[in-house]
């Protein structure tokens, strides 16, 4: 297969985060792991714009799981989505031999390796190079709020912060150590938030790549409103359920001969692989 990079991404600065942005009175959209799901990404861009989001951010893991890895980059470029690096982007960008999720169960590793190898082979070199250079964190100043964007946690790209295994005082300490009032992350695949001391907050923005292990086929992203856009406080967070053409995604996955187990997740909303890392509360919410 001939892999051609979109012209836009050859400009190496497009899609990268401009740090220490000073922004006033804003509505911003945050997308979590895309996992090659360019259909959901495209739907999310349009949905967020339709709701008035002025800036769009992606918190990393562009690849994995879904079909046609190169297609997400056109969407990112055309929409001006600013990105930080996830563990997957780090792995693909640096030509590593696995996704660095750190699974230990052989079945998890088997499926993780299939999607990693597929994504690696089908990501053109210019996109790999671009991912390699993405920053691992971003900082925004919004109406006097200091906002930190990361992939897993502010201290480690591939740290899993699950709702049921992350204490509030741990998050408070992260907010202290990283001097942030709002921390946005993704990585686990399930959105959640926690109010912290002094009106600070941790937000897991969810992922666009696959549904949330709740038997529904939609995916999730997150909106942040500040200033006049947030009448009820210094800021407002909204988790947005996003319906997209998941049947088309499943057909394209089948066309690419991706595992049945992955396609079933897209069609059913239940996770069937890489379950080992789930804590018991999150695991019990699913059926596998």
């Amino acid at each position: 297969m001939l892999l051609v990079c979109g012209d836009g991404l050859n400009d190496r600065n497009i899609g990268r985060l401009n740090l220490s942005n000073l922004i006033n009175t804003m509505q911003l959209a945050f997308f979590g792991g895309v996992y090659n799901n360019y259909l959901a990404l495209d739907a999310a861009v349009r949905d967020a714009r339709g709701r008035g989001a002025e800036k769009l951010y992606c918190l990393g893991d562009l690849g994995a799981f879904g079909p046609h890895p190169d297609r997400v980059f056109d969407v990112i470029h055309d929409a001006g989505v600013e990105c930080i690096q996830g563990n997957y982007d780090n792995g693909i960008g640096n030509g590593m031999d696995n996704c660095q999720c750190g699974y230990t169960d052989p079945r998890d590793n088997h499926f993780a390796q299939i999607s990693y190898d597929y994504t690696y082979e089908n990501t053109s070199q210019c996109h790999r190079d671009w991912m390699k250079e993405l920053p691992t964190e971003g900082r925004l100043e919004l109406d006097g709020l200091s906002v930190l964007l990361c992939h897993g946690s502010p201290r480690k790209t591939n740290e899993f912060l699950w709702q049921s295994t992350t204490s509030t005082h741990f998050l408070n300490k992260l907010a202290d150590d990283f001097e942030s009032e709002l921390i946005f992350g993704t990585h686990t695949g399930i959105h959640w938030e926690r109010e912290l001391s002094r009106n600070r907050r941790f937000v897991n923005v969810g992922v666009l790549g696959r549904p949330e292990n709740d038997g529904r086929t939609n995916v999730w992203y997150t909106l942040l409103r500040t200033g006049d856009d947030a009448p009820s406080g210094p800021y407002e967070i909204e988790f947005v359920p996003l319906v997209y053409d998941h049947e088309r995604l499943a057909r394209e996955m089948a066309g690419e001969k991706l595992p049945e187990e992955f396609i079933e997740t897209i069609m059913s909303g239940w996770w069937s692989t890489c379950l080992e890392v789930l804590p018991s509360k999150e695991r019990r919410a699913g059926i596998y």
Binding site: R16, L17, L19, Q85, N87, N90, Q100, G102, T104, D105, P106, P135, T136, E137, G152, R155, K156, T157, N158, E159, F160, W162, Q163, S164, T165, T166, S167, T168, H169, F170, N172, K173, L174, E276, V277, L278, P279, S280, K281, E282, R283, R284, Y288
Partner: protein, 301 residues
């Protein structure tokens, strides 16, 4: 900087409690701190002491709490201790699953349901058959522990079955496959399993052999090694004598670092044979959901 092979506490992410001391109703031949019904070299921790430590842990930003012994459920206050802990953070209890009472599990199920945090049970069973398990853990312990697993499953828990590897590494997949099958037969249809390496200390040093003088972590070995894999770089354990470096070295005098969590943040020299096993196998004591591999970080400024 500290002299190698000494490691610093990077963050106090997990706080352990030696909540049953060295008291256990079993007397496993591989127990690395030689627990038994009569070993009282370490004593129980009471609810008040646990509460004091939970409060102390807040400013350290502890992420998760772990409870071990001995057998934690020999401690009469174990149920209230877990109920209290679930108000502070996630809790994991390491148990042999042979002494449960239904009303305890009912209370714990309710406590977990009322909490935003998970309560994890890690149940030690050393193989998929009594023939493998019982010679190590004692007569009938396989059946008793499997009954305990059934009870946990009946109360909606998903215990993580942990086994110490008393077979060759290459046989892991075979043993795990057989174990999944057996657990299915006992009604546990979504089993979670974890294999741990043997630690050649305590009773295990008598069962097989202790560490040789060369089984030590050296300075050269620390080059390019991710020390974050060692539990002593992100954990400490509360005992009835104060705070120690890790759950493994309790019998070593130098493992006891001080009375307060702040005192116990001091670096630790990896001078023990068990450190060599940790070095080889990584974070052997924590749950899989906290395993992660260190990645280089960059920020564009």
């Amino acid at each position: 900087m500290v002299d190698c092979p000494t490691v610093e506490l990077q963050a106090l992410d997990e706080l352990w409690f030696q909540v049953a001391g060295t008291r256990c109703n079993l007397k496993c031949t591989h127990c690395f701190i030689s627990c038994s019904p009569h070993n009282d070299s370490f004593g129980y921790l009471g609810l008040e002491e646990v509460e004091r430590r939970l409060k102390e842990s807040i400013e350290h930003g502890v992420k998760e709490y772990y409870f071990t012994g001995g057998e934690p459920f020999l401690n009469r206050e174990m149920v209230p201790i877990l109920e209290l802990t679930l108000q502070y953070g996630p809790a994991t209890v390491l148990t042999n699953a042979t002494v449960f009472k239904t009303d305890w599990l009912e209370r714990l199920r309710d406590a977990e349901a009322a909490s935003i945090y998970s309560l994890e049970f890690r149940v030690s069973i050393d193989g998929p058959t009594p023939e493998i398990n019982d010679p190590i853990r004692g007569e009938n312990t396989f059946e008793r522990a499997m009954r305990g697993v059934q009870m946990l499953v009946e109360y909606g828990f998903m215990p993580i079955i942990t086994m110490t590897r008393t077979w060759e590494l290459e046989e892991d997949q075979d043993v795990l496959g057989r174990f999944r099958q057996v657990l299915h037969e006992y009604g546990y249809t979504r089993p979670r399993l974890k294999v741990l390496p043997r630690l050649q200390i305590g009773a295990e040093a008598t069962r097989t052999e202790g560490y040789g003088v060369h089984d030590r972590v050296t300075c050269e070995m620390m080059d390019d090694y991710d020390a974050g894999q060692l539990i002593c770089t992100h954990s400490r354990i509360v005992t009835d004598r104060g705070v120690a470096v890790c759950p493994i070295l309790l019998e070593a005098p130098d493992a006891h670092l001080g009375q307060s969590l702040s005192d116990a943040r001091t670096p630790f020299a990896l001078s023990h044979g068990a450190c060599y096993t940790c070095y080889q196998y990584g974070a052997i004591c924590t749950n899989t959901s906290v395993n992660q591999i260190e990645q280089s970080r960059s920020t564009i400024t």
